[in-house]
């Protein structure tokens, strides 16, 4: 017991240090900051400046809520979990696609106005809320999960953790659609109907590499999901709050499958540059 008692005292010591550090880093005192928030519906709108008090530990979503409570009760914003888990609160903060609930004010320069605007690749419904329904429609076009027959007589399957790991990376996706927001194919060229976009390619990769799934979606990836439009700029990977390696682990292996079955000049080029990996090589080994 004595050893663990001293262990517990160490816990307390380091806990106190951490607490003090967070107290002194910015203090609990409030200061004022300006938020330049997009207000408007449909295609018309403008930035409006709001001043509000901010304090240690606050995130952008907290500031938006304060503005809502104090100045602009009808300021439209989506959020649910406030813990980075639901992917509702996507917006562009100082021009960067981010989750409002996971962007701490201490990361931003509060001496300048902080701009908060809706995701620009989607039609604006109102203020910070956008119409993301195209993503839901696109998902329906991807053929659904279809497992092989159960492995055991009791109707269950066996799979190794390493096989699970591979798709668990993709299944972490919280459908925040920030990757869709930055992808130039959608953002600048508006090819929402021709190209499902990185989020849905992650979804397709998850299905294609699922240890139990038996469908082959290669043909439609090329023909109807428009994988050929992706030219591997990796912008999507950079903004993913779940740190999914969208381009390298999801899109490129899918492109390689397409190359195996069809001729796709861009995919072929990628393949040459990256050496001859066979389609579907587990991503861990690819790195």
């Amino acid at each position: 017991m004595a050893a663990t008692e001293s262990l517990a005292r160490n816990v307390v010591e380091s806990g106190r240090r951490a607490a003090e550090r967070s107290d002194t880093s910015a203090g609990t005192q409030e200061r004022s900051a300006t938020f330049r928030v997009w207000r408007g519906t449909g295609s018309s709108g403008q930035f409006r400046d709001y001043q509000t008090k901010v304090s240690e530990g606050m995130v952008v979503l907290d500031a938006i809520h304060r503005i809502q409570a104090e100045d602009a009760t009808d300021l439209a914003v989506r959020w649910n979990c406030k813990a980075g888990k639901c992917g509702s609160c996507s917006a562009e903060i100082n021009g960067m696609p981010r989750l409002m609930c996971m962007t701490r004010l201490s990361e931003l320069d509060l001496d300048k106005a902080v701009t908060v605007e809706p995701m620009r690749a989607f039609p604006v419904v109102k203020d910070l809320v956008t119409d993301v329904s195209s993503n839901f429609r696109a998902k329906k076009r991807i053929r659904k999960f279809t497992p092989r027959p159960p492995d055991a007589p009791d109707g269950t399957w066996r799979m190794a953790q390493s096989d699970a790991d591979r798709v668990q990376e993709f299944r972490k996706c919280i459908e925040c659609f920030l990757c869709q927001d930055v992808c130039h194919v959608l953002r600048d060229h508006h090819l929402h109907e021709q190209f499902v976009g990185p989020r849905l390619l992650v979804h397709a990769a998850q299905l294609e590499m699922h240890p139990l799934d038996i469908l082959d979606r290669t043909n439609e990836l090329k023909e109807s999901h428009g994988i050929g439009y992706c030219n591997i700029t990796k912008c999507c990977t950079k903004v993913c709050p779940e740190h999914i390696t969208i381009t390298d682990n999801a899109i490129i292996p899918l492109k390689e499958r397409v190359v195996d079955q069809h001729y796709d000049p861009l995919g072929k080029l990628v393949r040459l540059l990256r050496g001859r990996r066979s389609a579907g090589t587990p991503p861990e080994e690819a790195q």
């Binding site: 517990a8 106190r16 607490a19 439209a76 701490r104 109102k126 203020d127 799979m159």
Partner: protein, 604 residues
């Protein structure tokens, strides 16, 4: 005359979390027409936040587990106020429901021989929670969502139901508005399944999202259904306490399941000092035994950190009240200490608790692999809800069903971790099945236009009031603070009487709140409407809590700190009386079936 978009369904499911999605899927399988409405976008419901896992006696990790042990654990956790039929069905059916998820695409963590892995959780005798790291809820809701979108289900996203409709005694549908345009939608339905989740936003410190305004509880109450066990609110022992803006965000019990310990400012593992009698034989004698338990040693008993949530939460409150808390009014939760036990502790923690690692790193600048966290209780779950038939999930209103957190019965006085996700699957499925059967037997209900018009007029009132009136946010904020203080984790008669007075005043204020802007995506208006539900459920909680003059499970009375066996014989019911007053009654719990009694004895 207000205008509506009209929709007609055999079964209307309100709520698209785990329970609602599972119900809609089952009803669609049965071949009836199904509508599904939710306040948020599909896939964003509260279920997405669940972390630790889903409880089911699969016996993949410990073959001594079976439905009987799970049943006995659930009853013990609920302090025997549970609807025992539901506890039985839940324990028996959860394994099939979990395996079915796998058939629909869920990728659970695996055992070495490739089966679904299970972890320890408070109150569960054996490792029982199937999980995916600490994002089990995301995996579950996505699986159900991605299955449901290929079923014939009409989904109405971002649509809020403001009232149920009735045709005489039976249910006739529901009325709501779409958030985007603010247009009203009238749903005629032969059966309605409520799957709206909980009431956590009635309190200021909560792990719950904006959606948890007790809508389903209030809708059912207003439609004449009985609510039960509403005094039992679960305060999860470990929410974040610092910085202030994240106060309440959940720290999963999985941290303790993986070996995390709770320590006060004096460095004591204070939970060893106060182990309740009915758990003594199952609790580790010392720290070493507790550690062995978390590492899968089957001969070891669980550490006191894994006692039930009500107990751990109160023990923390006591430490803080008696001046032994951490700097920001919590206690320390430490997982980093396992560095002294495991050489790869850092990777291990990141692998087992990835979202906790990121949550603390991003929101509090704390590296949990090196430093302890500061934690304290947070409002988490409501055991109480709509009283339903254990088999069919139908409420006391014909055609109105309830499943998931909005339903009551399974958890009794206290819910065990992991028993909610399994609840959603088991009873979501049952509600969908029986709602479909019910609908198939009914003719179309008659929807009363006057009833609908009156609901719409009332919903629009905040726009018509003087624009210099108070806004809804301040009233909501004051309500939350009041409930936290007066009807929170430790309760007293005089404080709750004060709460009832305060509620009267808040109701007055709420009746006068005004909103600005127009009907399109107007959160001020939405809050004004949610506020009515919050006030209703807050009063229900306070009245039920006043009636239970004892301490049991999630309900702790400072003035009656002991458990009273006489109160173990009934549930408290609340209904709307003929003149709109709240009627509080005591409903005797039916005698346990003999075989179930024996199971409980055998597992004592």
């Amino acid at each position: 005359m207000p205008e509506y978009q009209r929709h007609e369904h055999d079964v209307l499911v309100i709520g698209a979390g785990g329970a609602g999605l599972r119900a809609a899927i089952e009803a669609a399988h049965a071949g009836v027409s199904v509508g599904l409405v939710c306040k948020s976008l599909l896939g964003k419901a509260h279920t997405v936040m669940a972390e630790g896992g889903v409880a089911a006696a699969l016996a993949n990790v410990d073959d001594r587990d079976n439905w009987k042990v799970h049943f006995a654990d659930t009853m013990r956790g609920g302090q025997y106020l549970n609807n025992w039929r539901m506890a039985e069905l839940h324990a028996r059916e959860a394994p099939d429901r979990v395996r079915e998820l796998e058939a629909w695409g869920t990728v659970f963590d695996r055992t070495p021989d490739g089966r679904i892995l299970q972890r320890n959780f408070g109150g569960h005798k054996y490792p029982r929670l199937a999980h995916v790291g600490d994002r089990t809820g995301l995996e579950m809701i996505r699986t159900l969502q991605d299955y449901a979108i290929y079923q014939p289900i009409d989904v109405h996203m971002e649509c809020t139901i403001v009232s149920l409709l009735k045709d005489g005694n039976r249910i006739a549908g529901a009325l709501g508005y779409d958030r985007e345009r603010g247009r009203f939608k009238l749903f005629a339905a032969k059966a309605v399944v409520l799957a709206t989740g909980g009431i956590g936003r009635a309190f200021s410190v909560t792990s719950n999202s904006w959606e948890y305004t007790g809508d389903g509880h209030a809708l059912a109450y207003n439609a004449g259904a009985a609510l039960q066990d509403m005094e039992f609110v679960q305060f999860h022992p470990t929410g974040m306490v610092w910085p202030p803006s994240v106060r309440g965000i959940l720290v999963t019990e999985g941290v303790r399941g993986e070996g995390g310990i709770l320590v006060n400012r004096e460095g004591r593992r204070f939970l060893f000092d106060d182990i309740p009698e009915n758990y003594r034989s199952q609790t580790a004698a010392d720290e070493e035994e507790g550690w062995r338990y978390t590492q899968g040693d089957k001969s070891a008993r669980r550490p006191p950190e894994l006692l039930t949530r009500d107990h751990v939460a109160r023990a923390i409150v006591k430490e803080v009240r008696e001046g032994r808390g951490s700097p920001h009014g919590g206690v320390f939760l430490d997982i980093s200490w396992i560095r002294s036990k495991l050489s790869n502790a850092e990777e291990h923690i990141k692998k087992k608790l990835p979202s906790m690692y990121h949550q603390f790193k991003q929101l509090a600048d704390i590296d949990i692999t090196r430093e302890p966290m500061e934690v304290g209780p947070t409002t988490h779950y409501v055991m109480g809800g709509v009283r339903v038939d254990g088999d069919t999930q139908m409420s006391s209103v014909p055609g109105l069903f309830a499943a998931g957190e909005v339903g009551a019965g399974l958890h009794g006085a206290n819910r065990l971790g992991g028993n909610s996700l399994s609840d959603l699957l088991v009873f979501g499925m049952r509600a969908g099945k029986y709602a479909a059967e019910f609908a198939a037997r009914q003719s179309s209900p008659r929807v009363d236009a006057q009833q609908a018009d009156a609901i719409v007029r009332e919903a629009l009132e905040p726009f018509n009031r003087q624009s210099d009136g108070e806004g809804p946010y301040q009233v909501e904020h004051d309500l939350q603070g009041m409930m936290q203080e007066l009807v929170g984790i430790v309760r007293r008669e005089d404080e709750m009487r004060r709460a009832l007075d305060a509620l009267k005043a808040l109701n007055e204020r709420a009746r006068k709140v005004s909103v600005t802007g127009n009907r399109e995506y107007n959160p001020g208006w939405h809050t004004a409407l949610d506020l009515r539900n919050l006030l209703t459920v807050s009063e229900i909680v306070a009245r039920a809590a006043l009636e239970r003059k004892e301490s049991r499970g999630g309900h702790f009375r400072d003035d009656f700190p002991a458990k009273d066996p006489a109160y173990g014989k009934f549930n408290i019911l609340i209904r709307r009386g003929p003149n709109g007053e709240m009627q509080v009654t005591r409903e005797p719990i039916p005698e346990l079936r003999e075989d179930l009694k024996r199971i409980i004895e055998e597992n004592k």
